[in-house]
Symmetry: C2
Subunit: 632 residues, 2 copies
């Protein structure tokens, strides 16, 4: 059936299922959604069940848009919105898109704009005709979030064309007589870095992650092999989370011909844009090859379709995607693919933490159905145990207390996304509860911006934090202890007269970045302490200091003496240790039939697969880069 | 380095290595060869070592062609050729190609035109300037061989362009930093039929076989997957032998965009053309879907590059191919791929017989190097034993003797290629030695034509037959006992008054073809005997008769009573039985590191792999359709 016939068919079904007197003026696929145009938006708004019933009958995501003729004037609309919505919500902006009939309402408390079960939203539609979408006013100003939102608002027309194109492709008819499912490993198997997989059926080709292995020579996945090198033939790209080893080369695909959708969670979208822009900025400053430019990142952004956790979404004629919390970093997603009409279910875990952390709930491992799992195996080797998180926190508090009490400063090199925020939450609580003295916590490098993105998406934090933020109104990221270092002047001033404080600064392995400025100044004084909370790779300055080097080169001919205390705290990892990995698999519901290991060195991938076979009695083996595995 | 620079570089090396006074006027890649143009063809002819030395230094196949200005007039040349070549050779034709400077001399005894170590050929060049190529005058008139040769002669210009294009692609520079080798199974794995593999490296993509699984719905390999569906990106196609399940869909690749070389042995080329033309003819007569037309077969023919056994040939920048005898049917080739400069060696066995048969020497299993083997496993299951060949022959003789002596006719349904000729040789000897009475042996269907192709390529028969043909001048295929049935009239005449005789007729499983005419007439009389020498698939009339059905439907409402004797002789298979398969692997030199099984049902592929692991202590597993295996 041609796509227009599919639409005509759907329209007929919809009209049959609409209550008397409710009419639609058109239907259209836009992205994974079916959009209904109506001259009666008020009637749809009146009865939330109309849409719910239709979605159930048609088994498709549905959105309603008003016909332009029924829309109130924007100025009048703003007035009405402010009348309807409680003042507590603190509306900061309203943006109208006449093309979609949507108004984006930016508010500090989006929940109050939405109302109970969406009551307030429906009330707005009834009054003004426009369909309201709600966004959170970032509680900490985030340049990234602002830029992303501005860019999307300035490119609504193009965006709509893209969504229509995607929508028509998703809903094309399946016609292939064969039935099979394959996974091709394109990177990040028996290694960490450059994660990339292809999931394919006779109908569809989905790429899952497309990372870069950052190093002296950035290593790309095997993107030149014929399985993927005609990028325009891919149906979709799915990003499991925003770390560069999972999304760093997505723009490259756009550079070389891809023009389809990129699915990820909203925080992953924002964080991805931040990290990619930083990546090309740093690369160009270091004189390294810059694989793509910012215009390509913009192109990618325009093609990103954010999906919330638990939202079942058609992404290809025969594939539905559902994201679930992975507990690794903000927005990280366990990606569940339902293939065919009940044919097969595959879970790509991406990176996950199967333990409640300060920031996140443990990774989800309950699904309606699952037969095949591709799991990470970073700490999957038989000795991959980690210090318990609570012990790690106590160690950190003790070190800070001791250092501060002797008048010293604590320097923590940290990667901007994930560990920094975890440590921040620990410190906020410790200061609030008086476990450590109330000293300033300076955040330098991209940490502040990454934190702002966390603060914009509190729905993606764990249930306790959400309660704290939404119900008690205490957002730990807004604590007054945190100070953004936003200029060289400020940095110089902090270092002019070192004082008891905590400094969290990038880069995490001391391969450059502001952390080095602090280090050079603080290293000679034994009052101060350097605390490693993340992995230090061989060859980095971080590793040398960790190993006990007492002199570190500075520039060409100078060295700095390392007299400060050096501590390493294990246990802040965003990855599950071997016990958590095994628990995650063993407690998975339902029990899968087959597990592939990846994202770990050779030993970890092999040993974890062996353990799964022995202890969980599930068929398991490691994926191998460049191999294709048939799972059906 | 650009290809023109490569050529300039080669030319410089050649000129440095040429003896004083010998000059070249140009160099060019044509197919896998480097062609030297010279105004001194006589000097090259004088000293055969010049070319041999150059080939050794440059490690490349070299051909010398005269500059047009030094060529004698064709008429004068023919005179001179007849003067130089012994009259015994019986020259039937000379064809001149001014474009290549070659003259093709067709003779009944090509050996006499070549002379000892090529002496006579060189003598010819010295006298006429033209470079002689020798072809055998088919001792039995073969329409296929004539058509193939005519077609090639009529398309010399286009052929030369194709060869130049192929040559430049083969000799392009390797520049990829990665090093890996993969095999993708596209058909014929865990099943028999539609054999198709892709061998790929970062530089090159070689397709090995592209068969069709003949059946009610002809099944194709998985040609639509991205690994191969951009057919123009393939570097080469290699056909291991001429059965339809190995080459039946090669023209389809040309239909959908492939325009590169097809490598196979000369008999495989002729037989392939014969079988493909028959395939589309039968399909169109039966009202089935015809996958390609004869023009596409012609296109394929123009791109075929025949290679003899043991001829090491560059087929891609990083791959050399060498064919070895496989003993399965005429021209069947064990295909050895040398990858990189000593990087890895892979053998694709295709179908093979590891036993000396009436027609062929046993399959070759000694190679300079081999690490990986992909072997057939047709009879690889633990019970895959067959009757010894000599017992099968004795059984056949006995049945014929008994039947003929009681005045009956023996009807043998047989596939045109392979088994028919094997049985013919057995009968020729039996008649010559008086083991069975001297009765006519009628050959009906494509058998005669297939036999003519065998007779054209005696070099591809076993050493004993070659001796018999070349030294004793006894070509068993020319025996007067054999009678070609070339018209309905003749068939009717034979059947008008059935008499003691042997009839070998297609199709082999009695699914149609002339065998049915004989059967209907001979079946009711118990004097006659029907002898099965090949496998009868379920659902075929052959299988029903074999199972003992006493009435067979004829047309719509009639049936024929089966009173004739029904016999089945096991052991004429062109495939190795399980013992021979295991021997082939165990005695392989050198011992390979890894073996993949294919071309067998699931049980055979799995059990043979298991046996190899246990008995030969070599890592082994079955290939799986649609999976990709990394071998380096």
């Amino acid at each position: 059936m041609a796509i227009d016939d599919v639409l005509a068919d759907l329209r007929a079904k919809i009209e049959k299922n609409l209550p008397d007197g409710v009419t639609i003026s058109g239907v259209s696929f836009e992205g994974p959604q079916l959009v209904l145009y109506t001259e009666d938006p008020k009637k749809f708004a009146d009865d939330g069940n109309i849409i719910r019933n239709l979605a159930k009958v048609l088994r498709i995501r549905i959105a309603v848009r008003p016909d332009p003729k029924v829309l109130a004037e924007p100025e009048r609309s703003i007035e009405l919105i402010h009348k309807i919505v409680p003042a507590d919500s603190v509306i900061s902006n309203c943006y109208f898109d006449p093309d979609s009939g949507e108004v984006i309402i930016e508010a500090e408390k989006p929940g109050l704009v939405i109302g109970k079960h969406g009551d307030t939203l429906r009330e707005i539609t009834k009054e003004i005709g426009w369909i309201p979408k709600v966004a959170r006013t970032p509680p900490i100003k985030s340049k990234t979030v602002k830029n992303v939102r501005d860019f999307m608002r300035n490119n609504l027309k193009e965006r709509k064309e893209i969504l229509k194109d995607v929508g028509r492709k998703i809903h094309r008819e399946c016609s292939h007589p064969d039935q099979w499912i394959r996974i091709t490993a394109l990177g990040g198997c028996m290694e960490v870095g450059r994660s990339c997989y292809l999931l394919s059926t006779p109908e569809s080709k989905i790429m899952i992650d497309c990372g870069v292995n950052l190093g002296s020579e950035d290593k790309t996945p095997y993107l030149y092999v014929p399985e993927v090198n005609h990028f325009d033939e891919l149906d979709a790209i799915v990003i499991t989370h925003a770390h560069m080893d999972h999304q760093g080369l997505v723009p490259l695909l756009f550079k070389y011909g891809y023009s389809g959708p990129v699915y990820c969670t909203p925080p992953t979208r924002d964080m991805t844009i931040l990290l990619q822009l930083d990546y090309i900025d740093v690369a160009s400053k270091e004189g390294k090859k810059v694989p793509y430019d910012s215009a390509t990142i913009e192109k990618e952004l325009l093609h990103m379709i954010p999906l919330d956790y638990e939202e079942v979404t058609d992404i290809a004629p025969d594939i539905k995607l559902t994201f679930h919390n992975a507990g690794h970093i903000i927005g990280s997603a366990i990606s569940h693919f339902h293939i065919g009409d009940g044919l097969h279910n595959i879970v790509f875990t991406g990176d996950y933490k199967y333990e409640r952390t300060r920031l996140f709930d443990p990774a989800v491992n309950k699904f309606p159905r699952v037969e095949t799992v591709v799991t990470e195996a970073t700490y999957g080797n038989n000795n991959g145990f980690q210090t318990p998180l609570r012990d790690a926190e106590r160690n950190l508090q003790k070190i800070i207390k001791t250092t501060v009490e002797r008048g010293g400063a604590v320097l923590i090199p940290a990667f901007a996304v994930g560990r920094s925020q975890e440590v921040m939450i620990v410190l906020e609580e410790a200061i609030r509860k008086g476990f450590i003295p109330n000293v300033p916590v300076y955040l330098d490098g991209m940490i502040w911006e990454a934190t702002a993105i966390h603060a914009t998406h509190p729905e993606y934090l764990n249930s306790e934090l959400k309660k704290q933020i939404f119900q008690k109104g205490q957002n730990p990221f807004l604590s007054e202890s945190f100070r953004q270092v936003d200029s060289k002047d400020m940095r110089d001033k902090i270092l002019e007269e070192p004082h008891p404080c905590v400094i969290i600064a990038t880069s995490g392995m001391m391969t450059g970045g502001p952390v080095m400025n602090y280090f050079y100044k603080l290293a000679p004084d034994e009052k101060n302490t350097l605390v490693f909370v993340g992995y230090q790779a061989d060859g980095t300055i971080g590793r040398r200091i960790q190993k006990g080097w007492k002199e570190i080169a500075v520039g060409n001919n100078n060295t700095v003496k390392v007299n400060m205390g050096i501590e390493t705290i294990d246990g802040f990892s965003g990855h599950s240790d071997v016990k958590q990995l095994m628990d995650y698999v063993k407690k998975m519901q339902p029990k899968p039939e087959r597990i592939y290991t990846s994202h770990g060195d050779e030993k970890s991938c092999i040993e974890f697969a062996d353990s799964i076979k022995k202890k969980a009695r599930i068929d398991a083996k490691p994926l191998v880069n460049l191999e294709t595995f048939r799972i059906l």
